[in-house]
Symmetry: C2
DNA sequence: ACAATAGTGTCTCTTAGACAATATCGA
DNA sequence: TCGATATTGTCTAAGAGACACTATTGT
């Protein structure tokens, strides 16, 4: 029918040491055999219902992860991005807590900070930059960052996640007001103890009805806008 | 290499009678021969540098238009959207003033309101809905709607365009304050006359440096947020 | 002069951010 | 009790919307 190479790539992101990281894997095929690259591969028309399903399969096969949040990012294409020929890559991005990546049981997954990446094959650098920009932008007006937290988290923890992504401090009162308005979190019975030498923080979790959907704040969470 | 059908579809939108319209064409090939559908077609690996170039070509061939604003919308895929088999459609959307469509020299182009479409082939209805949502959303925080105006326009005209897209009235003072802050428009020498029985409005145009890029307002232009 | 809409000044109300007071833990 | 951080109350400042006043045209 045609000679276009159809693939899917997944930008699996997490927060480690207050910095966004992306999951990369050593390629086990030519081209770029052995190079660190995004988990991805050919769409299999016979088994994938659509590209989203292909992305889910790819993530599961290569990292052992089923991410609750997986969104289409954009499609990258052209004759020069893949040495094998004219290709299309439908890119997706996923956000998970760092523990989930460890629990995936694929120790070969490498986490690298999204800045200071270099020498990536194909246009993977560009794809990662687009994903980073999307996450930063979307975090400024939505509840996206909760997917980077574990199931339970405290408000100060969540605020630190937002600040890490947005790269600037957030007003504590405004932040809590916003989350209160959104009404997407619910307090968990027990407070966080961990033996910290200060007042313990209340644990929260995403309310059931919001487990897989995002909430928009309507206004930016940060000052810059 | 594979059996995936690779196509591009373009949602060409304009404003007519204060309502968003989409350009549709009667299909001249099977499947769905004769049905109204989005302008689109196969990606030609031999002549298209990438999918964006394919969309530009498609728009030019089928409507005679070179749109200054053409953005990737999303990619639609799967085994069931096209009766010929597993397919990928990279969808783009373009915004032009209604006059540009007439000037394209393709009288077979039909303009239909984005609401009340029915019986479209493939998943074109869904693609158009996604484009409509994107335009509405993006208009609430950017200068996107200027691409629906002609080269010169008055502020009251531009405000009516915003209001038509957003579907709600905008505060005049806030609207002008916002545009003033954005600093993307410049006054044109002559005022609008047209013999209206009232004070004439100043004509404006997009400043050169903003001809092809969008400006973000940082805050929503409408009340709802 | 009148009708009609453009353009502008200003007041108010909402909301974001600063500041600070209170609460609660471990040491 | 002290140090540290969580949580909450309140004041202030910035920005959006309401209102209304002035400006300019054709009839």
């Amino acid at each position: 029918m045609n000679d276009i190479i159809c693939t899917v790539d997944v930008v699996l992101m997490t927060l480690r040491d207050s910095r966004l990281h992306v999951a990369l894997l050593k390629r086990d095929h030519a081209p770029f055999l052995g190079a660190l690259a995004l988990p991805g591969g050919y769409i299999r028309a016979a088994e994938d219902a659509d590209t989203q399903a292909a992305a889910v399969r790819m993530l599961r096969e290569k990292t052992g992860i089923d991410s609750p949040y997986l969104e289409q990012l954009a499609t990258f294409s052209g004759s020069s991005r893949d040495p094998r020929g004219w290709s299309i890559s439908v890119a997706y991005y996923a956000l998970v807590p760092a523990e989930v990546i460890a629990a995936g049981g694929h120790p070969e997954v490498e986490l690298l900070p999204v800045e200071a990446l270099k020498g990536l094959p194909f246009d993977h650098q560009q794809i990662i930059e687009a994903a980073t920009q999307r996450v930063r932008n979307k975090s400024s007006y939505s509840s996206l960052p909760v997917y980077l937290c574990g199931e339970n988290f405290t408000l100060p923890q969540l605020q630190k996640v937002y600040e890490a992504i947005l790269g600037e401090p957030i007003n504590k009162v405004s932040f809590r007001r916003k989350l209160d308005e959104l009404d997407i979190l619910e307090a968990v019975a027990g407070a966080m103890e961990t033996g910290k030498a200060h007042r313990p923080a209340q644990l929260y979790r995403l309310r059931k009805c919001f487990r897989q959907q995002l909430s928009l704040t309507g206004r930016a969470l940060n000052a810059a806008g």
